[in-house]
């Protein structure tokens, strides 16, 4: 049990009583269920399988180390500000899970509900944000419309006078905010481990065994493992892993860059996003400005970004809030995004009995971590989709029912 | 009846000069884009030769002189600058009047290359981009046509509506280059 008291006691006794946050077990020959991918979604799936469905003979198979994928390569934003049915209820659920996460896991993931403000810059954009805000309210989440003066009260440092696209107002989502990304992975890992889940690192899956349309297990770098149920939870590599089961997915992989500056005294207290170019920013508790923008736009697995997009992101920052100009970018990185034709994810069964998919998170995967695991665990355990994730069907593109194209950019993967 | 008055794209904006560079608006005369139809490029080339004694320019090249010039303008397209298009061209190519579509400026001076290096993502130094070379590329965030018309002189075209941004961007770069020494 982690607590302030424990820290105090350990501090007085030389910090000798700490133990591993999770075990490093050898893989067993057989599990009831195997989750491929030890990222945020895979770990939360394992946790909720064990916690909600009492499935404890399960393993998470991770190619590298726990949390080595996008859970550690994002801009740490959590929010429930989607507007289309399917997304709306899911992200709403996720935010509720975030709100109790640390107590649930006994791990401080620094969930900080500091408020997300989406700025808009024209009447048309305002109308679209009002539509969104009203959908959020109808879902039971919070949303507040800010006029320019309202924005100024929260964000006095924006350039209100000389910016290329003047600020018409903003949509405030007070319960949105940030979380410490790595700690989310570690908290779920520790939680799952305590419930008996085997977290197996350095265990790449090299094959998925299927007989007569039924999944039987997986081949791994550490030998074959039998399993009655297998889930592919490998956003960023979904296509490669799904191909092991003969699946071709509606996914194209793209790099999304993010940036962090040197530590600074507090200057940005919210999550702020610009409406006329992809740019969003917040300040970490350590003081670094964490910000990002749009995809690099070409299919890539390289986990690194290109200069033109980096420059574009910084130019957007300079037109919106030129007070950040003298902050220095310390580090940039690129995550690999599963981009789908409508910009929304997939949590579904496959045509192979016992084989499940959780993928296509585009660049909304971090905020979805709790609810994705919750929903996938439900689907794996019960065979039916969780009520908050019924919209994430794999076949929606083929039949056109329930597309969730929040951006309205259509079936071009990189435009979402 | 009405008497319409013509206004230039950069009216009131130019000229500007800084140590080492000068920017002026230029009047190129009529501008006509010529896009040969399928298989007609040779025919168009002959027509151009007959009408103006100008060859159909290869990609990234310009032919002609100040008064009559053919500027390669992109895939399957050249821009005729100066005279009105000869009727003979009509049957072999799509001709489109572009006279008013572009703001045309000339940047000159011994620091002109340095100025453009702040805005244009291609190598415009003389050894790479000599007189008679042209490029479709970017200038800042604007699509542009850039042609070297002399040892230290460039012809720059961007959309007419962007004249203010063109002059602003170039002027800023000219100032910055001048301030360097």
């Amino acid at each position: 049990m982690f607590s302030g008291l424990r820290i105090f006691k350990e501090g007085l006794t030389g910090n000798t009583g700490w133990s591993p946050h999770w075990r490093d077990p050898a893989p067993k020959a057989e599990y009831d269920a195997v989750i491929i991918g030890g990222g945020g979604h895979g770990l939360s799936t394992a946790y909720y399988l064990a916690k909600n469905h009492r499935m404890t003979n399960i393993a998470v198979l991770e190619k590298g180390y726990i949390g080595s994928g996008n859970i550690g390569r994002n801009t740490t934003i959590i929010r429930a500000n989607y507007y289309l049915p399917g997304n709306s209820e899911f992200y709403s659920h996720s935010l509720k899970l975030w709100e109790g996460l640390e107590q649930e896991l006994n791990y401080n993931a620094m969930v900080s509900q500091r408020g997300v403000i989406n700025l808009f810059h024209s009447d048309g954009q305002r109308d679209a944000f009002v539509r969104r805000g009203n959908a959020m309210r109808a879902q039971g989440d919070d949303a507040e419309l800010l006029d320019p003066e309202g924005v100024r009260r929260y964000l006095p440092y924006l350039d209100f006078d000389n910016t290329r696209f003047p600020i018409y107002g903003g949509l405030l989502h007070a319960r949105g905010g940030t979380a410490r990304h790595d700690a989310v992975a570690w908290g779920y890992a520790r939680g799952a481990d305590r419930l008996g889940v085997d977290l197996i690192q350095n265990c790449e899956v090299t094959g998925i065994d299927i007989e007569s349309g039924v999944v039987r297990g997986v081949q791994t770098a550490r030998g074959p493992i039998k399993a009655k149920k297998v889930s592919i939870v490998t956003a960023g590599r979904s296509g490669q892993v799904a191909a092991l089961a003969g699946l071709r997915l509606p996914i194209e992989s793209h790099v999304l860059q993010a940036f962090v500056t040197e530590g600074l005294k507090p200057c940005i207290d919210h999550v702020v996003s610009f409406g006329m170019g992809h740019f969003y920013i917040s300040q970490s508790d350590k003081g670094g400005l964490v910000f990002g923008g749009d995809l690099d736009f070409y299919a890539s697995y390289a986990q690194r970004g290109n200069l033109p997009m980096a420059e574009h992101v910084m130019e957007a920052g300079m037109t919106l809030m030129p007070m950040i100009g003298k902050a220095k970018v310390l580090r940039s990185w690129g995550g690999i995004m599963d981009m789908t034709p409508d910009g929304s994810p997939i949590i579904d069964k496959t045509d192979t009995y016992g084989l499940f998919l959780d993928c296509g998170w585009c660049y909304g995967g971090f905020k979805a971590v709790p609810a994705s695991g919750y929903a996938l665990a439900h689907l794996m355990a019960t065979g039916v989709p969780h009520e908050t994730a019924r919209g994430f069907r794999l076949d929606r593109f083929r039949d056109g029912h329930g597309l969730m194209d929040e951006e309205g950019t259509g079936a071009q993967h990189n435009l979402h | 009846m009405v008497d319409l008055e013509a206004k230039k794209p950069c009216a009131g904006l130019l000229p500007v000069a800084h140590p080492g560079t000068e920017l002026v608006e230029v009047d190129l005369g009529a501008l006509t884009s010529i896009a040969p139809f399928a298989g007609q490029q040779d025919a168009v080339s002959v027509a151009l030769q007959n009408a103006y004694r100008l060859g159909f320019p290869a990609p990234n090249r310009t032919t002609g002189t100040k008064d009559r010039r053919l500027i390669w303008f992109g895939r399957q397209m050249v821009l005729l600058a100066g005279p009105a298009p000869a009727a003979a061209l009509q049957k072999n190519a799509a001709l489109t009047d572009q006279t008013d579509a572009w703001a045309s400026v000339s940047l000159s001076g011994n620091r002109a290359e340095d100025v453009l290096a702040r805005l244009v993502p291609i190598d415009l130094r003389r050894a790479q981009f000599g007189t008679g070379h042209t490029a479709r590329t970017l200038l800042g965030h604007m699509n542009a046509s850039i042609t070297r018309t002399g040892a230290d002189r460039f012809l720059i075209l961007v959309f007419r509506s962007m004249a203010v941004t063109l002059v602003h961007d170039l002027n800023q770069a000219m100032e910055a280059v001048a301030a360097r020494r």
Binding site: S3, G4, G11, N15, H21, Y65, N108, S122, G124, D127, A128, V130, R131, N134, A135, R137, A138, T163, R164, T261, E262, G263, L264, K265, C267, G277, D285, K286, G287, E311, V313, E315, K326, A327, K328, L330, S332, G400, H401, L403, E407, G410 | M1, L4, A6, P9, F37, M77, A93, Q98, D100, A101, A117, A127, Q128, F159, S161, D169, Q172, A179
Partner: protein, 975 residues
Amino acid sequence: MRIDGKGLVDRSSPIRFQFDGIGHTGFAGDTFASALLAKGQRLMARSFKYHRPRGVMTAGSEEPNALVTVGTGAAQEPNLRATTLEIYHGLEVRSQNAWPSLSFDVMAVNDALWPFLGAGFYYKTFMWPRSFWEHLYEPLIRRAAGLGALSGQSVAERYEKAFAFCDLLVIGAGPTGLMAALTAGRAGADVILADEDSLPGGRLNAERHAVGDMAGSDWAAQATVELRAMPNVRVMTRTCVTGAYDQGTYGALERGAGAPQPGRPRETFWRIVAKRSVLAAGALERQIAFADNDRPGIMTAGAVRAYLNRWGVAAGRRVAVFGNNNDAHRTALDLRAAGVEVVALIDPRPKASGPKGDFPLYAGAMVEGTRGWLGLREITVKTGGGIVRLAVDCLAVSGGWNPTVHLTCHMNGKPTWCDAIASFVPTPGAVPGLVAAGACAGAFSTAACLAAGAQAARDALAEIGVTSAPPDVPEADDTPYRIEPFWAVPGAGRAWLDYQNDVTLKDIKQAATENFRSVEHMKRYTTQGMATDQGKNSNVAALALLADATGRGIPETGNTTFRPPYTPVSIAAMGAGGQGMGFAPRRFTTSHAASVQRDAPMVEAGLWYRPSYFPAAGETTWREACDREVRLVREKVGVCDVSTLGKIDIQGPDAATFLDIVYTNTFSTLQVGRVRYGLMLREDGHVMDDGTSARLGETHFLMTTTTAAAGLVLRHLEFVHQALRPDLDVRFASVTEQWAQFAVAGPKSRTLLNDLLDRPLDNETWPFMTCGPITLGGVEGRLFRISFSGEHAYEIAVPARFGASLFDTLVARAEALGGGAYGMEALNVLRIEKGHLTHAEIHGATTAFDIGFDRMVSANKDCIGKTMAARPGLTDPNRQQLVGLRPLDRAVELTAGAHLFDRAAPARRAHDQGYVTSVAFSPTLGHAIGLGFLSRGRDRHGEVVRVVDALRGKETLAEVCPPVFVDPQGGRLRG
């Protein structure tokens, strides 16, 4: 302490500057660090977590400790490295992250609490009660964290970006880089030599090595002169290459020198494209972990030599040297030669034999601890003969040198462990086209560097077909570098690794205990290597110690990834040009000045500016103006600039066939001189855009697009042609900019035009949806009888040079007829009254079926998007369909973005039936009207729905009706 006669600073140029309000004097060539050290000031900063007093540790951009703030007001710049900050007259420097003062910082209480603040302690507490995180814990943590502060004001200085191209980029101007640049320059290659320092030479300026028959620094100066004289070589000092990107692209940051000057950019961010590059970035010295190894006065040995040899500054009066390699020994010799007292040379290698000097050499000994809170006073040395305490004010430490491999890792390359130097070296080929040479490749002697630089340049040039003569490489020191790995002194106290982030050896061990054994886990759990130096000083040691703690070798332990930028880059530099209006081009119509003159507020429409409304005398609100403008169009005649709509010239024998492919409806049947409304789908079956196309000739069409989609549609046409139907003979040219086009709308529109046109119009030859050439005052233009307002209307186009003049003329004539100019607000009302659509409705997720245009999808031909539009989900009768909305209470307004619910249903998602897209007050009808999408809407005309705008706290009931409010039969536009 400044040493007479030493160093490269200009003693004849004293420079006055301030630190925390106290005046100091240095010399031209000094950094802030060297000038302060010359005054004997060691304390310069505080650490991040424990607020420990800190002094300068290095002499370069990798400095982890001595970070300061410069300037005030908008010019305030935090987190500058004292070690690279060149002093200038009037420079004002302030310490940061300390309160109330640098020498007395109350937050240093954290240092006493260290047992409770170890690695990752915050993950284990601050969880109760839940609401305390945002309200108590987090604000406290945020205030304590951070380094310097931004001013909160907009940047006022200029920054810029630039492009450069070369055959060979040489990164680093030390012996390797200078020799590479000389070799390539002499061969005639196009060379850029970039170095982050203000003075080329690298370690040649910091050591006493000779090159050929002259001092190394003199050789560097001479080489620089030669290079600067070559027209094919650009020497870029103060320019740090910060990132390696694909296909030979590099990012580089150039700092402006000296005091800020008006007009002169503070920084320039370069994008350098190089056919080949030589990385000659040198090496960085690492520390040794021992108890309290972070006190002001403890520095790298190389830094002590640099301050001595380059800046003529003794970093202390009584100096000890502690190092595990022969290189460190030179420190003692250099100091002694300059007359500085060397208290001891301590080498942990039992068999170390050092240089002979008048100082004791302790072989097999190690520094166990130190004392001195604000500055080093004493070190404790464990020797074979027992513990020795030595009074010193400076300790020069060397744990060995780490090649600066960073750029070779920017494209996901992993460096290779090299036992000989106990560090990582670049893996060849990690960055295509880049070769690492000299110290950054593990060759540490000056002679080896010179040779490697020459060879690397020759090899690189050979690859791009440039031959070079075998270079004349001068002779130089070739002393072998001998090192035995030595990472940490055993002992109990806290031994720092990452100085700035206060990560100690204990933290690494605790991370390992808690199973953060992967190097990435260790980094993220302890924050090791995440400070502003990104682990340049400490990562290698930290992972060696992690390897030790986990019982693995260093190669298996692996390392974290170096990512761009190599040194931090200001957002203002990389985002230069974006501030203010520079973010995107501004597009102005020809009528802009006239609109502004008429006091019209100009609003952004994509990149364009358009007039919102034209206020008349006595009008105090936009609504008054808008209502008047709507009425004048409906009753008289209005003029509106519509030039921003996209116009695409389409010509060719197959033009008509082509349009049949991109439009849902048929254009091949359109008569010459006629215009038709067209609908365009994306291949996924949703509506892409709409607009009219006019047939100007048998093989000549003019397509119009919406303002926002002009570029997108042209790109789409080119795609369909080039990628799908290259067999069709058709050509496109954007003519949006060629024509200034104005809507002339209203019952008196023809009257107005007939006053102007050289040949008058009549309804027979110019019925609705016709087009043709016209002349006015001899100017050739085009006329289209089309209508977005629903009135009898035309759009008249003239070459753009006449646009301003024509607008003035049209407005004047309209005013004479009781009409006038109208803006975007009125345009919007007019189109909503008519149920015409914009991107509020065609927002990318609607289908032709949704907007009631499914009959426009021709059954007789294929078109883009047709097949996918037939998917069951896109033709589901339950889809939300376009409807009109009228409030039951005619006095209330509707609001766009409100959602629609059944009259009796709660306003919850499960009952959501649709939403309002566009609203207007209709002066024609005298009440509010709206357009929206409603589930099964077309079947529900006459029903009453609940319209809920929870955001605005508004709710009303509205009647569902057809989406055309005015003149549904279209009599007005045909009349």
